[in-house]
Symmetry: C2
DNA sequence: CTCATATGGTTTCTTTTAGATACTTACTTA
DNA sequence: TAAGTAAGTATCTAAAAGAAACCATATGAG
């Protein structure tokens, strides 16, 4: 059978998930975790510009969706490691592709932008 | 040489582009345009729940970034067609993958969510 | 002639979200 | 004693998203 879900439908639950994935910070977090578990403050240092609040919120949502796993180690001070779940790793390729497309095509985008801006106002 | 751009850097211009791509509506628009040119109101009808304002804004931004092309035909009333640019088509696979991952994995996500919600509060 | 429809938008207003900053608890090291 | 690290909350403000109405122009229905 076909999928019961349709991303083009307004009230389809997939819309909620797309909204989660289609987020700059979520993509950067998922991309960063591809090479293995990373701790909270390491993520904060690596993903430059993210605030603690947004990092915390985004991690919680991604954990709730089963895309990543949060593990607490009773060290002093406590250590919290985040890693991709099995489900999360199925996104690896698409996430990388999207997150790094910009790096590969930035020059073309910048050219398009200035061409656009120089057209008649 | 390596890329001059790094998506993990705060002030890197790629962040602006990632922010554009990492948008629910932008992804749905790019996905919808993969099969050929589509007119404004057709997009509005197909992508259920999008408002005219957001559709208009998102199309404008994607056009400015050179990802899609806007073509006006002097019919009555005027016809405006949007289609993927060459640059835009290079995103096809990643966009499809991300936009439709939710349809394929929705059940797993819903299960993860209720499991999460049933844990200790 | 008037009403309803279609086109592709813009304007306005309200609600939601994001971002910046400061604070918290607990322990270690200089 | 003060500063640093860890993993977060809480609070406040600025920006963005969403809903709804409006606009110009034109055609077809009644």
């Amino acid at each position: 059978m076909e999928f019961a879900y349709d991303i083009y439908e307004n009230r389809c639950p997939t819309r909620l998930v797309l909204d989660r994935l289609a987020d700059k910070w979520a993509l950067l977090i998922l991309d960063r975790l591809q090479s293995g578990p990373v701790r909270f403050n390491q993520l904060k240092r690596d993903i430059k510009g993210i605030s603690q609040k947004v990092l915390s919120q985004t991690l919680k949502k991604l954990e709730r969706d089963g895309l990543l796993v949060r593990e607490v180690f009773p060290t002093v001070p406590v250590t919290v490691e985040y890693s991709l779940s099995e489900l999360g790793t199925t996104l690896n390729e698409s996430v990388s592709a999207l997150a790094h497309w910009a790096e590969h095509n930035m020059d073309a985008v910048l050219a398009a932008q200035s061409e656009y801006d120089n057209r008649a106002p």
